[in-house]
Amino acid sequence: MDVNERIKALLDAHPLVLFMKGTPQYPMCGYSSRAVQVLREVAAPFHAINILEDPELRAALPRYANWPTFPQLFLHGELLGGCDIVLELKASGELLRLAQETAPHGTAA
């Protein structure tokens, strides 16, 4: 499968996807670690992918997402942003609202 199709398939399979450095248990970067922490604070169920173990994804995502760095958080296939934006969304209450919308049987908006 082409790498862009792999990305689409991942985003189709999970409403909330975090592409990060390391794993939620062992994050390898402070920004990825903070993003995980904030998602846990709002109890948002998310699917984490360790891009350090997938060089093809790591190389393709910046262009796919039009975003140069990691972590990258996607909701329903759309990029929400990186660590700073996730923190901003948390502070404004928006992240909690989005998390509550992420019902297991919800359909993509």
Binding site: M28, Y31, L52, P68, T69, L79, E88
Partner: protein
């Protein structure tokens, strides 16, 4: 090297946004030794206030900053913490 990088970042952002305020901090020392820092590029924090950001959602503001920095994102910058704000209402 750090001063030259900061000057390059500042020049790009001033040209793109004519900011009312801009602060750039080299945060590389805090990340020295971690895996992402080994390629020699830096970690920076940018605080920028510009009327250009009015009405733009956060994602668009950050993308505009990345676009203005262009290839510096590949050559000089490993990670960038961005605070991009419109001027406060009086």
């Amino acid at each position: 090297m750090s001063a030259a990088r900061i000057a390059a970042i500042r020049a790009r952002l001033e040209a793109a946004f004519a900011p009312a305020q801009i602060d750039i901090i080299d945060d590389s020392a805090r990340h020295a030794g971690h895996a992402g820092a080994r390629d020699g590029r830096g970690h920076f924090k940018v605080h920028i206030v510009s009327a250009a950001f009015a009405g733009m959602p956060p994602l668009a503001r950050h993308r505009a900053v990345y676009t203005a920095l262009g290839e510096l994102m590949q050559t000089d910058i490993h990670a960038l913490q961005i605070e991009a704000l419109p001027p406060a209402h009086g």
